[in-house]
Each structure stands twice: as structure tokens, then as C-alpha cells.
Symmetry: C2
Subunit: 229 residues, 2 copies
Amino acid sequence: MAQASRPLRADSAATRESILEASVKLFGERGYRNTSLRAITDAADVNLAAANYHFGSKAQLLDAAFERCIAPINDERMRRLRQLQASSSSPSVEALVRAFVDLEFALTDNEHLDQFLAHLFAEPKSVSVPLLEKTFAPVVQAYFAALHAALPDVPVEVLRWRFHLMIGSMIQLARFRHPLNFFQADSPPAEGSLQAGIDQLVEFVVAGLTQPGTSGDGASGDGASGDGE
Amino acid sequence: MAQASRPLRADSAATRESILEASVKLFGERGYRNTSLRAITDAADVNLAAANYHFGSKAQLLDAAFERCIAPINDERMRRLRQLQASSSSPSVEALVRAFVDLEFALTDNEHLDQFLAHLFAEPKSVSVPLLEKTFAPVVQAYFAALHAALPDVPVEVLRWRFHLMIGSMIQLARFRHPLNFFQADSPPAEGSLQAGIDQLVEFVVAGLTQPGTSGDGASGDGASGDGE
DNA sequence: TGCTAATTTAAACGACCGTTTGAACTAGGA
DNA sequence: TCCTAGTTCAAACGGTCGTTTAAATTAGCA
């Protein structure tokens, strides 16, 4: 209703944009529940009521902010996939994995993207899962198809599991950009570039994706790890 | 001060326990910020002020509830490791991984353990990281040493990365117990037991941990970790 | 210029929050 | 028995929250 198709009478687009920008920043820094509309509208230098006027409610503002966060990632991933498929009719697993998991550009641009996601994961699954599925479905479908073509011997159900676990490792790297320091306090932070972690991630995940495992013949039995306890 | 060494005059232990139990449940279900002390004390059927009386503040109550959640996992992991090391002087990578990542018992006992962790991850890193490191350090140190012994060719720094990524996959399975449904809505939930996912996780992680990668011969495309950024 | 609707504003509303208070209650020790 | 310290209680405090309201302001259009 607010941003109708009719010409806007004031600089409402700038107000919207300013609120959205502050929302991405503050929701990422503090999380949804812990960020007040007053903090957002203060940071955006707009009136408190403008948030409800332009977005309806705080929850709808979160949706818009999440969309704003993820869209560049979806775009870049699709761009990379098209580029790989233009260069080769069958991209390698490693190339596909790297194109999917190398989010350095996003993690550098948006310092709080990982916290934003962490806060989303903390929402009830009834909230987070549909939003995640909706937001990432097209890109995941495209990558999964390419990965399936590159790994014809891995059954689809097994590949779905491995893709799922790959995402877990990727999120772990995005959130804790270096291994946690579980050891002596004397050991230095041992910080390196994010790219070093991405290289480790690609290696780790490619090995997990390409291993023979349960694929070959045995119908469902987990041939490798079998014995229950 | 509350639970001093002197004999308690009333049933204060039961009150404490009741509050702790409700806290684990509600913090897991709704998260810290979204759970009020009133909700906890209502569920525990005690007076509102009892929470502050017995635990000092809401934040200290969270600490106690987290400790309560994780202690059984630490205990069970150490029990398993000792058992493995009693059976064999050098347990296999797969056995170690399975002993570490098979949290079925905990995820069954405590339905909201994964959400509890998700909420912790959503806290600022300055809060979550020290707490995670403190809580899990002894067990991780023990497992890491055993894993290092089982994988003598993997440099310590590389193994730390892989351990880190393993934890990410494990958390992913704990949180989303099946692959997300990024595909057609017609595809059924495809639910199986949690053990099936754990088997997939073990396979995936063992492959990632044991792969030659950047360790032995060097070369391998991107000499990722050894050199600086 | 006046009309009109979109937008912005200050102020308030009602609700819920974590915490504190001080009195009431409980039971072991003298 | 009274005394005392641990525990529980109802009630309130000060504060922040999301949302709403109605007036003020803005800018396109006749």
C-alpha cells in the first residue's frame, strides 16, 4: 500500500532504503529479538513510526532484511555456475564445490552475515526451515543437478545427505572463521586469511562427496560403518 | 550463598532443580532472549523471585542450564573414548569419529538440545566462543590427541581445520536431522532414523579427515594451509 | 494558488520485561 | 518455648518494547 505504483510524493524510497540498511546491520549484530525498532530507526535517522509505515511490522522488516542479505549470494552462485557450465560441459566436483562454498565476497562485504544466519537458525524450525528452503531452493537445485551429473555413482539420497553435511561445514567456517582454540591459551590465535579456510573446506568436502561409501551396490545397508551398538 | 553447606531449612533443592529443568526446556524451545523468567517460574511452579534468589540473575541461570545440558555429552564421550582406548592401543579414525559425533542419546533425551546450541551460536562471539571453548575443551583435547595419533601424516594445523569442519557437519545433522527439502514439494519428507544420518555423517567426515590433501606431498594444486595468506 | 494524498513527526498506549523489596512462612537449635 | 536464618511469597519498581494515533509537513496536480 505504501510504495504503490503511483509516483511517490516524498523521498520515501530513501527512507525505506535507510531502514533496510540499518536492519541488516543491526539484526546481524544483535539478532532479531535483541534489536529494537528504536535502535533501527535511530541508526537510520528516521522516525520510529516509519518502520511500521513502510514495512508493516518488525517481522516483515526481518523478511525484507534477510532477502536483502541473501540475494547477492544467490546471484553470485548462479553467475559462477553458468560460467563453469559455459567453460565445460561437465564441471568437476571441486570446481562446483568451490563455486558454491567460497563466500568470501559476501563475508567480507557484510561483516554480520554469519550472525544473521545464526540468529535465523535460532528461530523455531517452523520459521527458519521454510524460509531457508524458499530462499535457497533455486540455487541449490541447480548446483545439486550439476553435482549429481559429476557424481553419477552416488545415489541421489546419499548425495542429498552429503550436500546437507557440506552446508554444515560451510556454515561452520562462515561462523567461526578459524578452528576454536580448545588447546593451551599459549597457542596463538593462528589467524590466516579466510581463503586458507576455504581451501581446507573445499578439500574436506570434496573428499566427503566423492568417497565411494554406501553408493556402489548394497541396497541400503551401510556397508562401511555397519555395526550398530 | 543459597545452597550453603549447612542443612537447608526447606525444600530449596527441589525448587532449584525444578527451575533448572524448566530452564533447559524453555531456553531450548524459545531461546534465551525470548524466554521470560515468568515463563520459567510458571512452568516450574515456583515463585518468580525464586529464580533470582537461587541463581542470582537470568544470565547465571542460562549458564547453569547450559552446563546441565552438556555435562552428559561430555561424560558419555569420555566414557566411549576410554572404552575404545581400553580395547585397542590405537583406535581407528572411524571408531573415534563415531564415538564423538553419535549424539543420538543426547538428542533423544533432550529434544531441544540443538535449539539450545543454536541460541548459543546466535550470541555474540565474545560470549559464545569462550563458553564453547571452556565447556568442550577437555573432551576435544582428548579426542584430538587420539585422532592425531591415528592420522600421523596429517599436520596438526590441517587436522585442526578438519576437526573444526567435522563439528560443523555434526551440528548440521543435530539441527536439521534430515536434508532440507530444496526440491519439489511432492517429494516426501523421506524421514528415516537419526542413526541413518549419523552413518552418513561418519562416512562423510572420515573421508574428509583421512584424505591425503595438503599433507604429504605438497603440490596438489593449491598449497593451502602451510604457507601464509 | 488551492486541493489532495503520501509521508513524516511527536507523543502516547498497553504490555511485558528483569529485578527488588519487605513481609510471611518454615523448621532446626537454644 | 522463643529465636533465628533459610526460603517463599505477593506486589511493585523502573524500563523497554512494538504498535498506534492524530497532527504536521511535503509535493504532485488541477
